[in-house]
Each structure stands twice: as structure tokens, then as C-alpha cells.
Amino acid sequence: MTEVSMKNRKKMYGGRWRGVKEFLKVYRKNKLGMIGLILIIIYVFIAIFAPYITPYNPYEKTGKPFIPPSPEHIFGTDELGRDIFSLTIYGTRISLFVGILATLLSAVIGSAVGILSGYFGGLIDDLLMRITDLFLIIPGIPFLIVLSVILGSNIWNIITVIAIISWPSTARLVRSETLSLKSRTFIEAAKLAGATDTYILTRHILVNVLPLISASIILTITRAIILEAGLSFLGLGDPTKISWGTMLYFADRYGAMFSSNPYYIIIPGVALSVLGLAFVFVSYAVDEIVNPRLRTRRLR
């Protein structure tokens, strides 16, 4: 109706990002969380600008094999004389890509299954949970080995395969959160106001479940990154791409352990572990904020 109300409406929608801002304000106080976040930003930066950072083309022989660290090659060279530093920099790309994409995929499947199962209950719940349990029992790596052999070794297959074995735990978590949300009265209130199931699922359940399980989703990234490296280490990685796991595979295979350049083994592993740790830190910080065990609802 009036100008006043239009102005106020703007103010109201202007508040849309306030939740995010507030979250960041609290997050910034968490030291481990900030360390993790900064590390991740550095890794992302490295992954994007890899060609500008690396001194050598990682695919080319630039020195003698197994040279120990020297001013030209700060971490030495591999069995083909390629620069370890450049290889490691390029490896960042695969780890981040696979880790994040596989996690997203598994989060989508897991959330969908978990929400539907928890919300509708009954037969749907029984069926979906039986399927989830079946997938939970599958031993991950042995299964991955078989699947990689069937599907072949390329990066998309690796992502799919990691998502397949990661989603059941997300599904279980989402289901239990959905169940506890479902029993809260605001869901009943929405039904009373005439909301449909789809409306409740998206506007009430999903928006509440995702923050609660965000910490565990972030943790899945660490597991996915380690899984990718594990697969590549077994020689099942994408042979056309440089990955830390593949580097370790060749390092192990060509006896880097006995060579004069043990950095060939150490550097990719450190890169891998630090990235994993960064996500663990972020997950921990998010968990402290979203699911504070200390801040009870009503402190007496």
C-alpha cells in the first residue's frame, strides 16, 4: 500500500544474509576453524593458479631421476626426473575436485533418502533403510577395487564410486535428525496451517536438517580425499591425471624408499594430510557453532 511499507519490506529482505554474517562472526572466534579455513583457501588458490606457481611442467622430465632436494628442484625429482614440487602442486586439483564433488553427490543422495525415510516412515522407511543398511555393510575399498576394474579408471568413475559408498552414513544421520524434527510442534503447526508434504519437506525439514549435518558433510570431504588417494595408491587412479595417491603409488612401486630422494614419499603425503586436517578443523568449528553441546537451551 504505502511507501513506508515498501521501504520496510526492503529492510526485511535486506536481512536475508544476516544469518550468514552472524555465523561468520561467531566462526571467526574459533581458532582451529580459522586455521582450517585459511588452509583450504590456500589450497584452492594453489589448485586454480597451479600453472603460475609451478617452476616446471609436471609432465616433463626436467632433471635426472631421484635427485635429492636442490635449489633447482626443492623437493627433488621422481623416477622419471620430473619435479616433485610441481607434481604436488598439480595434485591439489584432483584431491579438491574429487573430494568436494564426491561429497556433494553423496550428500544429495544421502539427504534425499534420509529425509524421505524419516518423514514418511512406515513402508518407505523400512525399504529405504534396508537398502541403506545393505550399502553400509559393503566393505568400501574391496568394493571400489572391483568397481574400478569394471568401470575403468577415470576420474568420474572414482567420484561416483566414492559417493556410492559414502552416502549411507549421511542418510542415517539425516533420517535421525528428520525424525527428531518431525516430532517438534512447528511441523504440526505448519500442517494445521494447511501446508502440503512437499512444502513441509523443503521449507521446514530440509532447511533445518542441512545446518545440523553440515559438520558431518564437511567431514565426509576428508574421508573422500583419503579414499581417492587410497584408490590411486592401489594403482586404480586415473592414469592421465596427476594425483597425490598416484604419486605415492609410483614412489612405492619404483622403490623411492630406497632411493636418495625420500621426499618423493613424504611431500605428497603431507600435502594430503594437511588438506584433510583443514577440513576436519572446519568441520569441528561448524559443529561447535551449529550443535553446541555446552549452550543448553535453558541454562538454569
Binding site: 572466534k29 555446552l294 535453558r298 541454562l299 538454569r300
Partner: protein, 329 residues
């Protein structure tokens, strides 16, 4: 009449904070409180005002990250805040001061039988008990005293009993070692009305029979009216008024006490009782208001209330209110 030897527990200038990175929650701030022998003292306040924290600090079982910052808790001439942990455990906890926790549902360990939970208090106080068998008989007798069947109850797990039964078990447990003071933290909330009445009667009878002191912590004024001898009113971490039970209800002197008492509907008076509507909400205890903590909600606010904390004013023997209204200048 107020001879020093009659005082059982004397809390002086107690401060208890929850120290956190975001700021300290000043849950108990400069609190004085005394309990005499054979007396029921009620500590009344709303949720979050620090009354349970006060109870936890007496037995030194504060949850993380609570800390006693300063002050003394004198029991029988001993300062509990400075006592060695092992001595406190052996001489004070349960043997002299026992506690009934808010919601008996959660104060019994779900994976242990009632029998074992009762006996525990006895076993770990060997020096207090000469004969474990006699102690066991005492436990049976107490269970019977609170109106339960020992054969059925002692061998049960907590989840096999109803809420009222668990509350009775907890009361029996609190009396095992003949303590001199029982702290009862909201002993009747979460129980249905008729059970609640039975539990109040039970506490009242037992108190008279064996002559113990009770510190009753509650937000429920009608319950207080029924059982207490004296009342302390707590608001935002501070004691604002204390007096004997009749003075508090008939002649409250602090605006908060007055508002609190007049905001409770009465079954007898029904619609005839005009309820006071208090404005605002209790403050958070990280940044409590300056001056008198009640001033933002007080209908009689003066300028000084915003600036300076009111001193305790003695209105008559045993009736003290911390309010500028009563300070003569």
C-alpha cells in the same frame, strides 16, 4: 534467639561464574544466605537466575566451566570452598549435606539397579557406617518409609519405575546417612498434580520427624507457601529480599517479590485476584544491567537505581530487602 551456634550453613559473599571465551556468566553474584538447624529455607527465583548454581557450589559439583570465584560457604565452622576434595567427599557430601535433584528421572543412573545406587552412598563412606548389613536394612526401612515396596523397587532398574516412584527413591536415598541438610532442587516439577502433592507431604513429614534442615530450590510459589519457614528471593544472580514465610507473602518489600507473588493465580480467589503484569524479561547474566539489576522492569524506578546497586536494608528482625525505596536519605 539468633545465636551463632544455631546456624547450620552460612554462605557469605559467594560469587560463582561460568567462565567462557564469549564472557563470564555471573550466575551467583555476591550472595549471602544462612540456614539454621531444623529449618526449611526456600530459595525462589525464575529459570536462569542462578539458584541451581548456588546449590551445586555448596557441594562443589559445578558443571564445566563453572567456578567459585570468591566467598565462603561455612558449614559447622568449616569453609567448604577451601576444603580438600577428599575431605569434602568423606565428611560433607551425603554424610552431612545431601541433595535431591531436579527431575528424579535423570538423577538415577539408567544402567544400575536401584539397590546398587542406594548402597553406593554407604559403601564409599565406610567410616560413617559400622555395619554394611545394618546399612542395607536401613535402606529397606527408608524405602518403606517413603511408601514403596522394597522387594519390588530395590531390584529394579530406574526405567522400570514411574516418575513418582523414582522421586520417592531419590528422597529415600538422600536420607541414607542421616544428613543435617538436604538440598532439594525443584523436587516436584515434572510430576503430575496429585503426585506432586504427595511428594510435598512426604518431605514435610520427614522433615518434622527427623528434624533436618531443607534448602528448597524452586520457582513454584504455591509449593513454597506450603512448606517453607523462611524464603530468599533471587533475581539475576543476586538475593533481592529475604524474610519469614508470612512476611514474604503478606508484606513483600522488594518490587520484584511483590510482582512475582501477585502474578501467580490462586485457586481460591480465581478471577477476583488481579494479577500484576510485569514488563520485560529477566536479563542475561553475561552483561547484567548496571545498578539494581531489576531496574529495567521496576515500576518504581528512580534515577539512583540505574547507577548504584542498592544496599541490603533491614526492615525488621529477619526481613531484609535490597532496594533503594527503603533507603532513608
Amino acid at each position: 534467639m539468633n545465636s551463632e551456634n544455631n546456624i547450620l550453613l552460612d554462605i557469605r559473599k559467594l560469587r560463582v561464574y561460568y567462565v567462557m571465551s564469549t564472557g563470564s556468566v555471573k550466575a551467583v553474584d555476591d550472595v549471602d544466605l544462612t540456614i539454621k538447624n531444623n529449618e526449611v529455607v526456600a530459595l525462589v527465583g525464575e529459570s536462569g537466575c542462578g539458584k541451581s548454581t548456588l546449590a551445586y557450589s555448596i557441594l562443589r559439583i559445578l558443571p564445566y566451566p563453572g567456578e567459585i570465584i570468591s566467598g565462603e560457604i561455612i558449614f559447622n565452622g568449616m569453609d567448604l570452598t577451601k576444603m580438600d576434595e577428599e575431605e569434602l567427599r568423606k565428611k560433607i557430601r551425603w554424610r552431612n549435606i545431601s541433595m535431591i535433584f531436579q527431575g528424579a528421572m535423570n538423577s538415577l543412573n539408567p544402567v544400575m539397579k536401584i539397590k546398587d545406587q542406594l548402597m553406593e552412598a554407604i559403601i564409599y563412606h565406610e567410616d560413617a557406617i559400622e555395619d554394611v548389613d545394618a546399612a542395607y536394612l536401613k535402606a529397606i526401612e527408608l524405602i518403606r518409609r517413603v511408601g514403596l515396596d522394597p522387594d519390588r523397587v530395590l531390584n529394579s532398574y530406574p526405567h522400570e519405575l514411574s516418575g513418582g516412584m523414582k522421586q520417592r527413591v531419590v528422597i529415600a536415598m538422600s536420607l541414607l546417612l542421616n544428613p543435617r541438610l538436604v538440598i532439594a532442587d525443584e523436587p516436584t516439577t515434572a510430576l503430575d498434580v496429585t503426585t506432586q502433592a504427595n511428594i510435598i507431604d512426604l518431605l514435610k513429614d520427614i522433615q518434622r520427624e527427623i528434624g533436618i534442615s531443607i534448602l528448597l530450590i524452586t520457582h513454584d510459589l504455591p509449593v513454597v507457601a506450603e512448606i517453607a519457614d523462611r524464603v530468599y528471593v533471587m533475581y539475576a544472580g543476586k538475593i533481592v529480599e529475604y524474610a519469614d514465610i508470612y512476611s514474604i507473602f503478606k508484606n513483600p518489600q522488594h518490587p520484584y517479590t511483590e510482582g512475582l507473588i501477585n502474578s501467580v493465580p490462586s485457586l481460591v480467589e480465581g478471577k477476583l485476584r488481579k494479577l500484576t503484569i510485569m514488563k520485560g524479561e529477566p536479563p542475561d547474566l553475561i552483561n547484567p544491567p548496571k545498578g539494581c539489576r531489576f531496574h529495567p522492569r521496576c515500576p518504581y524506578k528512580m534515577d539512583i537505581c540505574e547507577k548504584e546497586e542498592p544496599p541490603p536494608v533491614k526492615l525488621k528482625e529477619g526481613h531484609v530487602a535490597n532496594c533503594w525505596l527503603h533507603v532513608k536519605r
